[in-house]
């Protein structure tokens, strides 16, 4: 590991709480080690702002290991930046060059109202899960875990869908601001498993209805979501959701 540093110009979306419109403000990020993550780079800028008695940039983050789904911003027009299958907290500065200008903006979607600077309200995603993203089982009544064998491939396919971290990048990337990839990931995960079958029809209908009610757009197969998803959730899940949905509607 050779420590190299770079200098960058940032244009960051700033918007106070309650303010109708925000603006891009320019900051300089100096002596950024290429081993830093993108969020650590913002930390440095924030530390600088604080020392100059200015308010730092508000942004969501927590685990900083790409798993909690809390972080996210549109970086030079790409959600979570340009690296494939990478959350913003796992994007490292070695992917940028000295002298680059980086534009950083919040997720933009009708269903994700802006709170402050780069922070948006994603509670609509929780509402969709509340509508049916679960298997109705109370603690205490389950049979032995091995009573129901599930073929390895089935478990694996369900796992792939279950890897969604609920970050909302798919919504931000979609020209229609549709939440289809997110919803399909949960629907597929549970529909693929035998435990999830009894409620499968009800679940898909309720979740899709809730998605519409929350103000997300329709899916018109733009496939941007799949390109931008940090967890590699594929539009195969959307096809599966559609099949589940049709089956439910016609039965």
């Amino acid at each position: 590991m050779i420590s190299k540093t770079i200098n960058l110009t940032l244009k960051v979306w700033r918007q106070n709480r309650g303010e109708k419109k925000g603006r891009l403000e320019t900051y300089h990020a100096k002596d950024i080690s290429v081993d830093m993550s993108f969020l650590e780079m913002i930390d440095v800028v924030n530390e600088d702002l604080t020392k100059n008695r200015k308010e730092p940039i508000a942004f969501d983050h927590d685990c900083r290991e790409g798993i909690c789904g809390m972080c996210g911003a549109v970086v030079n027009g790409r959600t979570h930046g340009h690296e494939k299958e990478t959350t913003l907290c796992q994007l490292h500065m070695r992917h940028f060059s000295d002298g680059d200008t980086i534009v950083i903006e919040p997720w933009r979607s009708r269903a994700f109202p802006l709170i402050k600077d780069l922070i948006v309200d994603r509670s609509a995603l929780d509402k969709i899960i509340q509508a049916g993203g679960y298997i109705s089982v109370n603690a205490g009544g389950a049979p032995d875990a091995n009573a129901l064998p599930i073929a390895g491939e089935v478990a694996e396919t369900a796992f792939i869908a279950a890897a969604c971290i609920g970050c909302g990048a798919c919504v931000a990337a979609c020209p229609n601001a549709s939440a289809m990839l997110f919803v399909s990931a949960k629907v597929s995960h549970l529909a693929l498993l035998p435990q999830g079958r009894p409620e499968a029809a009800k679940r898909v209908q309720a979740m899709v209805r809730q998605m519409d009610e929350c103000g997300f757009g329709n899916c018109s197969n733009e496939t941007e979501c799949e390109v931008e998803c940090p967890k590699g959730i594929s539009i195969v899940e959307i096809a599966r959701l559609n099949r589940e949905f049709l089956k439910a509607e016609f039965s």
């Binding site: 590991m1 008695r53 730092p56 990478t86 994603r122 509508a131 603690a139 609920g166 435990q195």
Partner: protein, 638 residues
Amino acid sequence: MKLDAKIPAGPLAEKWDQHRFNLKLVNPANKKKFEIIVVGTGLAGASAAATLAELGYHVKNFCIQDSPRRAHSIAAQGGINAAKNYANDGDSVWRLFYDTVKGGDFRAREANVYRLAQLSCNIIDHCVAQGIPFARDYGGFLDNRSFGGAQVSRTFYAKGQTGQQLLLGAYSALMRQVSIGMVKLFPRREMMDLVLVDGKARGLVVRNLITGEIETYDAHAVVLATGGYGNVFNLSTNAMSSNVTAAFRAYKKGAYFANPCFTQIHPTCIPVHGTFQSKLTLMSESLRNDGRVWVPKKPGDKRLPRDIPESERDYFLENKYPSFGNLVPRDVASRNAKEQCDKGKGVGETGLAVYLDFSDAIKRDGENVIAGKYGNLFEMYEKITGDNPYKNPMMIFPAVHYTMGGLWVDYNLMSTIPGLFVLGEANFSDHGANRLGASALMQGLADGYFVIPYTIGGYLAQTSFSKVNVSDSKEFKQGIDDVQKRINKLLSVNGNRTVSEFHRELGLILWDHCGMSRNEEGLSKALSMIRDLRHEFWENVYVPGTGNDLNQSLENAGRVADFLEFGELMINDALARKESCGGHFNTAFQTEENEAKRDDENFCHVAAWEYTGDDQKPDFHKESLSFENVELTQRSYK
């Protein structure tokens, strides 16, 4: 007050069943008259909130993040233990119990640990029913691996995302209860204080992290599941918002804090790269199943790893511990890595790293097999370091990871404040002086799904409650006042140093003097350093912005202010424990083989600290531990 752990009488294996039978029940029709506050939505909090609601209680559930699904538990990678013995390799409830007690260096309560081992099996059953996609074998049955020094395969896992999958299970159960109105969610809220009425825990003062408003909530009982305090070290593997504030506020209101100096340093983390590093990343210790740990034999050897011939490498864990080799418990592995680096044999740019080498495993099994087991971990490593672990050995170094200490609780998980229950990493109960891998997830879920639903009923059924009302009870008004004063104070210092500067400095003091190894001189020095730092903080910190807005600097300032007080408590605890055990390694107490040397005659106890006032020495209370079922032995992993 004399500490009473309320351990039920009777033979170990029957205690829990008997206790459940003896506990008073809340009549089903009465359950809906009770309100319970649960703070935290990690494995412990989400499972508790969901299960209590399933039983019919009304629950208010709080968390810092924007969604309960993002609690720190989400980041757990490796797995969760259960004594299912599916592998038929000799595991049993008894063995899991025994391993946990021994792994904890005989500083945990036998009865709690035995119950945990029993409940481990129920957890797996429930999680599978929830749809958690655990790894399975070709026949479709659940797969297990051996993990973190266990000699049996009892760890259930979902690739490197066990925590995420388990938390999404608990979260989905929680969402189901939200949808039917049994749980009311309060995300983006931070607990700032606990409210006591007639000496009982009856509510909270919280800060709305979006608007900055100070809000109050009441209930019949309060459950804290607010996680561990590893971030007192500044750099740790914990999520950025992990804090001690919730637990510390409860401590100041009369809950005893137990064994604060018991912290766990995890051996396999990605080494530190620079001053502005914000957190450390853990590499699952399952990697030690196939990776071999080594350093060059010669101090200061700067050759590339591949240029160092076998004969000049020191596989120090294999050499020193022939039967456990690379799989020794975490504290042992960490301490040995540090020892090698202290001798100048550390590798990498900073000399603060050792190699974890997969080349032999790749030669033996092929790259595909290794990729199948660890593919995502290798990718993560490459993403962070820019180095390819299939070609070059990984570099790892220990990092703060977990805190065994926490609020003192009895067998019912109730603290010394009546009506205040503490679950998960926030309590101290089950891991003694060192936690075994894959046991924290087990404990969080056991506490939430299977212990608290019973024990809280016992409390509610036996207690009479006065009526409280958040808007006119004086206790709540006082609570708001205290919190507001503290916030105003933070904002009005208007000094010249940032909160992160103080946090970094505190972290370094603790890492150097209260980390992997400790001694009296260093601890005493650290004590005065922390005091000075704390005084400076209150004179010279600068917190930008205002109180009635979303203000992340203010959030951090509050947490760091508590860490600055809490650090002192840790050190006092470390100074008082004049022995070595598990994660607490005092260099004055070691065996000839440099292992932790316990003093069972004088220190076979839980140290529980009672707050007596700011800048006052806390009072010490002792819960003696008695071991009736296992024999206290010197841990040996040779």
